[in-house]
Symmetry: D2
Subunit: 338 residues, 4 copies
């Protein structure tokens, strides 16, 4: 921790900082420059990170040195985390494809999509049973019934299931219907109670980046889960909110190599939400894999013009099939498999 | 709803749109221009709002005409909503001051602050018992104990209490300790399950705008609460996230007159979070009132350099006292009282 | 300057940094912590600011201590800069009102507006002769003819003139027609050649913040002008670009007290561009003054529905008159005059 | 153009809109809905686009139907524009690599880099002679001397030259030293006078997107150039400014397929500026090509730790060489050549 004193700071103010730091078990190291004096604090930065030292008289600013996350950090664990679920590995050489409808709408349509995406190489079926919708008047998901259909589709096809948990009180249902991967949605990335609860279980988690969250905050939210004991976390870049309004969100492709550098956790990309337009899903999927993503989660719907949610960004099964062909080539080009 | 067809759209594609619209009970009105044909849909826009018509062949874009919110809209209710709690009115001529520490830390300090802010004109005591913190290693609030201290402070001073609810399972505690105003924090603005639950009760709600949420989304989240039957909602502008990094957030002062125009609900400003620096709280409080805010929520702490959260942005009691003097003048200047 | 070394940095890498720093005339101060070693560089930070030390092996990050601007800094000059032009003082106790049409459209209309705004307390007439327009097909301004009309209006009313300079080659015309204040528009805030040229003259400058520029960058652009010798610079907050699309820009009211704290230069607010809606100009003008602005620049047009640019955000003369009445009260409330 | 009337609009107000539209040569088409009346204007939208109809009484909002650009639009020209300069084609099947130092620093180093990048497949040499720098105290470029060195490097290697023009008064020098491609930097994307001047010549232009400019604004700036007669324009995505601060900018990879869809002009990506970190240049280069970019512009420096600008984001020649190997594979995977 570095404390920069104001040009006008007095000796007495400086001494108070030093005393306070030493009372917290840190050693203070003073460097007097021509224009500013700085105090370096040596010792466990954690102890002072949360202290509002900036509020002490004479302080201009406080600059932390260490990142605030630990367990998710690549410094702690050099090799990539690989999450194994049945015979699927996430974070290994093989790119994982998760695909399916935005919402589970009915059994027949879900089974059809599940078979379709499985045939084309997906190993995980996505589909929302509980849907966070901006409007109270929009379709809110089938709830438990949706989970039941997902389970049936999984049993029939052998696909894994990923679906969103919005409320800790629904966790029992997620066990009842053998959900393989619990998705925490962008709007719940900082629902800390929810994070703590899924930290206490062992089920793999797909944690989506909030549309307004920095990479550091995403890592801190993952830290919540790991710090409770659940290390099976994959992070998902799904587009951030910017001033650009032509696309629904701006896919932060930079975040992929940045997260891979800072953390050992696998990174999944969601080109459907990150663009909001089906015509952009293919190029952005290719870009995500080229940038180092470990997997993709893609919306597919046989009749997007009738979908109860996100039809505009859903691929037709035939678009999905074409995308997969392209992706195989890109995977090979960057030393991955599919 | 306006549907703009692509320049290349065929008659057949257009007919499909018309048929689909009519099957939804709407009347389609076609205008052929030189460069584009547009189809105006007349009838209940709600019915088609959620339909992914954009995904139909030949469609370039779909433009809704009506705002998606209803109950919160000033169109529905011309006069300002005034929320009455005991002898405090929120949304009336008198500006409401809510003040107190970021977190409830202990009983003595809370009582001291409560007496201090009451003396200076506050009518509501703020203080977090359950704290949403970015880091799992930060102070997470006293929980139930914090609510107890708040109740004691309220009993002693006659102040109302506002405090944050993060989890619907804590609602019983909020009743047990007579919380007057339930705060929904910025990070939970789109925790739709939480919104629905507080919609079912009658307690007044302070709904904070998410840091990356549009004004429209804030109104939609309020709509969730009103649509369940709870009309006692006040909206809070607390700063949005932008590229400017000198302040913690950017206080969107434009939002105040905009919300007052679009909605009948009261608007509260939070200059502490919106700036993140105690030295900016006074000018931004004055600006908020000058722009039309109905109240302010301000962090006050007797020893900010020892606060367990948000010390950097907390006012000392003497700063608060000075601010209140300034604010009385600004209130008068804009035809309000305090 | 603080250099944070990677956890994995070697002694040799550290030594190279030290040698490099010393060759630049700085003293290096090494602090070895448990998790990181940091090197503090003492001496003229300027010398190393531009050096890409971050690129040297073993370096994790480089953190500058001092702000990069000097001449504009309040550290250099404690008291407020007051710019005197004829009998108008900008930056003193009295709030300055600049008002007029977006573009100069014709002589009659300009004279009418000039008389109107003068009557209501404006001391500076605004009006664009050279207009930066997003579209090549929009009205681009009257050019020299516009300057001529401005001069005539100034001669008739005694108002000062502020108008935008887009091209250094037009500077002679600005002298010919006695422009009092040269406006540098938001889109030219980082047109560094233009900044250098107006730095070489003595005419007062109104430097608008770029819609994509941080406060620090605004101060750096002002530094360009001051560093060439022209200290008569006022800074203008005119709204920044954010994700919020309900208003044309987001007025960064925080920036007003921040700039007043960091710099001695006067601050002007532009509520017309910052909102893009005439109905918001009054509340935002009041907010700006309440937050500490030294002046306002406001668009006024007698027939906004026929204006050749920015009609949507222009006040009618009668709206302007009402605003001025309100502003006088707010000025008094915050210890200013008008 | 669609005009949505307020719920409270009167017949008289509506009639005024209709009269005004007809006086502009348009036909008005009125649709009365349950909650709103809308007026569709048929005819040349251009005529009314610039009219502030929103300011007329009774109008709620005005929604344009057509994009405001024409010449750059793919609607005007279906096939891709291919710009031919000597034996290099930009916008064709082969990906174009532009590489070189941020600034031209001296002759020897430039020649060395030029030879290096040529050997690895670059066909265009980049290097700034006139540098836009945020600080007046930073290295501002060698000016004419820099152009001279570029010309010598071009003569020796056969590479084309791309370099930035900041001031129209330097255009003669760009002719004197045979600059092949004129770069318009991000900060000058809306320097409309500069755009008009390069529109009048025939030299190819690399127009960089402003860091806070929308895709639509980028296309409008290109429209300025094309509307003056110069059709040899390539567009460059170089990162936009967002709230994410871990990277210097956020590379808007979505923009690549979006621009390719909206316009016939070639798209170049600049991963060096878009990330600000040399370690991210390779993954983002691969992503850009995978998403459909027609070329890349990359900073390369033999001693980045001594570079006079942008050392942190410059690749070493050996990094560049490795990147090129990777890129050849990605090109092949997406059906391009290199």
């Amino acid at each position: 921790m570095i404390i920069v004193m104001k040009a006008s700071a007095t000796e007495e103010q400086m001494q108070k900082i030093i005393d306070r730091s030493e009372s917290l078990g840190l050693k203070a190291h003073v460097s007097k420059g021509e224009e500013r004096t700085i105090i370096g604090l040596i010792g466990a930065e954690d102890k002072v990170r949360m202290q509002p030292l900036e509020r002490m008289d004479g302080v201009e600013k406080v600059m932390p040195i260490l990142p605030p996350y630990k367990l998710v950090s690549r410094e702690l664990r050099k090799q990539n985390t690989v999450i194994k679920i049945k015979d699927v590995e996430i974070g290994a050489k093989k790119i994982v494809i998760m695909a399916g409808p935005c919402s589970v709408e009915n059994k027949e349509s879900l089974l059809q999509i599940a078979n379709d995406v499985k045939k084309n190489g997906a190993t995980v079926l996505r589909g929302g049973a509980f849907k966070p919708r901006t409007s109270p008047y929009s379709f809110q998901g089938l709830g438990e019934e949706g989970l039941k259909y997902l389970k049936e589709a999984a049993d029939e096809t052998g696909l894994l299931i990923v679906t969103e948990l919005m409320d800790p009180r629904d966790l029992d249902l997620f066990y009842k219907y053998d959900v393989d991967i619990i998705q925490i949605g962008a709007r719940n990335m900082q629902n800390f109670n929810l994070l703590k609860e899924i930290g206490k279980i062992k089920k793999p988690v797909l944690l989506k980046r909030g549309m307004m969250s920095t990479i550091k905050e995403l890592l801190m939210s993952a830290e919540y889960i790991l710090s409770e004991g659940n290390f099976n976390v994959m992070l998902c870049e799904r587009g951030i909110r910017t001033f650009e309004s032509h696309t629904r969100f701006t896919f932060d492709v930079n975040a992929i190599p940045v997260i891979k550098k800072l953390s050992h956790l696998p990174v999944i990309a969601d080109p459907s939400h990150a663009t909001g337009q089906w015509g952009l899903v293919s190029p952005i999927s290719r870009a995500a894999v080229a940038a180092g993503a470990d997997g993709l989660i893609i919306e597919v719907h046989p009749k997007p013009e009738e979908a109860l949610s996100d039809g505009v960004q859903s691929l037709l099964p035939k678009n999905f099939q074409e995308l997969i062909v392209d992706l195989r080539n890109v995977c090979k080009a960057v030393g991955r498999e599919m």
